[in-house]
């Protein structure tokens, strides 16, 4: 479902494969892939102004960032929700995720992990390398720089955290990061996410038993029923549960099969505000397609839940809708409810990790 937004290419030599502005190779039959447009001068100007504002906020190499966030957190939040300018994304992601600090505190560690350590997951990682963003020009070339970087980051992580090791889906997360930063930066951002430098740790998504996936699916199931009761009822009748459509939303944070420009906008917010944006976007998608979904029988429903229409995936429509959905309080309550039945996440993890 690699629907790409088609942007006009400027000054690209004819010999290169045609790619969209993010580097995904365009399919020949892309006539239905959304609006083909070149940016108007006005839009261009607006974008330039936005970049200037962002540069001021960040300071040289990120020097003013912390200060700015402390002084005007609401401004930062608002600007991030509007989308981080693409040229600054890599840097800003490192600042908001806390990965920059990890990198500075751990000089030489990444190199050590890549060069000297061996991992039990090496073969698993290699097997999936060419199956990660296979339509992106950076990752297409066999043993090319993209594939090598992806391998290195994943291998390094599998050594760094042997309990997690490597799990399918992590490649899409690492791959997305590698399109915006160096290997070492991507590695530390992965560490920041999984170990919870700023938000709740994500490692539970990938540990044995996938305990956090199970919890998130439980929470989403309830949120759908509460927020979209008619659809929730229809899902129940058709025996649809969130594991049939939403596992990959959480495991790859929408990077597996969603249009890349939408995934990036979600990631901007995800890194700053945490996982609740995944729930919000999921609910917004269901809400937007609600009237169609409630009419569909099981099989068509499953198909629809994996192939949302292009108009639903327009970030400037979908994200404001997602922001308007309030989930924090219910998420917390549902987490407690889930833990009452299944034990605390940390206990569930410990239990699984100890050989019985």
């Amino acid at each position: 479902m690699e629907k790409k937004r088609v942007e006009e290419q400027e000054g690209v030599p004819v010999a290169l494969p045609k790619v969209d502005r993010f580097g995904f190779v365009k399919q020949e039959t892309s006539a239905t892939d959304g609006p083909t447009k070149s940016r108007s001068a006005l839009e261009h100007e607006r974008e330039e102004r936005r970049i200037r504002k962002w540069r001021k906020m960040i300071g040289v190499g990120g020097s003013d960032w912390k200060h700015y966030v402390r002084r005007k957190p609401h401004v930062v939040k608002r600007r991030i929700r509007k989308g981080i300018p693409d040229c600054l994304r890599g840097l800003v992601w490192q600042l908001i995720s806390g990965s920059r600090d990890l990198l500075l505190m751990n000089p030489g560690v990444y190199e050590q992990l890549v060069i000297y350590e061996t991992s039990a997951s090496e073969l698993d990682i290699i097997r999936d390398i060419s199956r990660t963003f296979p339509s992106h020009i950076f990752f297409q070339q066999r043993h090319g720089p993209g594939q090598r970087s992806l391998y290195n980051v994943l291998k390094a992580y599998s050594v760094y955290d042997r309990d997690v090791g490597y799990v399918q889906g992590m490649g899409f997360v690492a791959g997305l990061l590698l399109l915006y930063m160096s290997e070492e930066d991507a590695f530390w951002l992965l560490v920041a996410l999984l170990k919870g430098a700023v938000h709740a740790p994500m490692e539970g998504l990938y540990l044995v038993g996938l305990p956090l996936v199970q919890q998130y699916l439980f929470q989403l199931d309830h949120l759908v029923k509460e927020y979209l009761p008619k659809l929730g009822e229809h899902f129940a009748q058709e025996m649809i549960n969130p594991s049939m459509y939403a596992s990959q939303w959480f495991i790859t944070v929408f990077s597996y099969s969603f249009p890349f420009h939408l995934a990036l906008r979600i990631w901007d917010v995800f890194l700053f505000e945490g996982v609740k944006i995944v729930f919000k976007v999921g609910l917004a998608l269901l809400k937007y397609c609600h009237d169609d979904l409630v009419k569909l029988p099981f099989e068509k429903l499953i198909h629809a839940l994996r192939n949302f229409p292009n108009d639903a995936m327009n970030p400037d429509m979908l994200l404001p809708m997602a922001y308007s959905i309030k989930v924090s309080k219910r998420l917390e309550e549902l987490k407690e409810e889930y833990e009452k039945e299944n034990g605390k996440l940390s206990d569930r993890i410990r239990q699984k990790l100890q050989p019985s």
């Binding site: 999936d128 199956r131 399918q168 996936v213 099989e299």
Partner: protein, 215 residues
């Protein structure tokens, strides 16, 4: 639960595709349901789903196929999908001996989570890679006989035996179901629609029975 008029089939059979990661499960499914093969396919995260309706033993059968992520850790999610499945296609890669060695672990997985009477077919995929073959047909054949599984080798890429593999397992399921429903007044073991289902019972006494699986 009445059959929907637009869904014209006699039986609905749920089948799961399992086996190690990278053996070609998703491409077997896309070859069978859409006659497509994707060289640049992504690894499956969680579960995927597709259906195809076809004629088997003179009946119209709808095959509802669940394709599962192969990595061991995903079994936490995927094993829930074994429930209610009437058939399992257990796939290995003929060029990768470890994927064949792991077949017995997958069988155990089925024994632990699937219905005991599930029909299992062993599939050695990627026969197009002739120069890389590392699992002999006879070895797999012997193993399958010992375990009471049917066996076939396929190439999703060249579309060799894919149709036959699915035809075979679906007819096997059909034969078992029609035999059972003839042998007793019990409703046929169910085919499911992940819960909501319909099994059409024996045609002979014309009692259309419906069953629901729990899930």
């Amino acid at each position: 639960m009445a059959r929907r008029p637009d869904e014209d089939y006699d039986y609905l059979f749920k089948v799961v595709l399992i086996g190690d990661s990278g053996v070609g499960k998703s491409n077997l499914l896309s070859r069978f349901t859409r006659n497509e093969f994707c060289l640049e396919s992504k690894s499956t995260i969680g579960v995927e789903f597709a259906t195809r309706t076809l004629q088997v033993e003179g009946r119209t059968i709808k095959a509802q196929i669940w394709d599962t992520a192969g990595q061991e850790r995903y079994r936490a999610i995927t094993s829930a999908y074994y429930r209610g499945a009437l058939g399992a296609l257990l796939v290995y890669d003929v060029t990768k001996p470890t994927t064949f060695d792991n077949v017995s672990r997958w069988l155990k997985e089925l024994r632990d989570h699937a219905d005991s009477n599930i029909v299992i077919m062993l599939i050695g995929n990627k026969t197009d890679l002739k120069h890389l073959r590392a699992v002999a047909t006879e070895d797999a054949q012997g193993f399958a006989e010992k375990e009471g599984l049917s066996f076939i080798e396929t190439s999703a890429l060249e579309a060799t035996n894919v149709e036959k593999a699915f035809q075979t397992i679906l007819s096997e399921i059909y034969r078992i179901i029609s035999k059972k429903s003839l042998a007793s007044d019990e409703p046929a073991p169910t085919s499911i629609k992940e819960g909501k289902t319909l099994v059409v019972g024996p045609q002979d006494n014309n009692t259309k029975k419906t069953c629901c699986s729990t899930s």
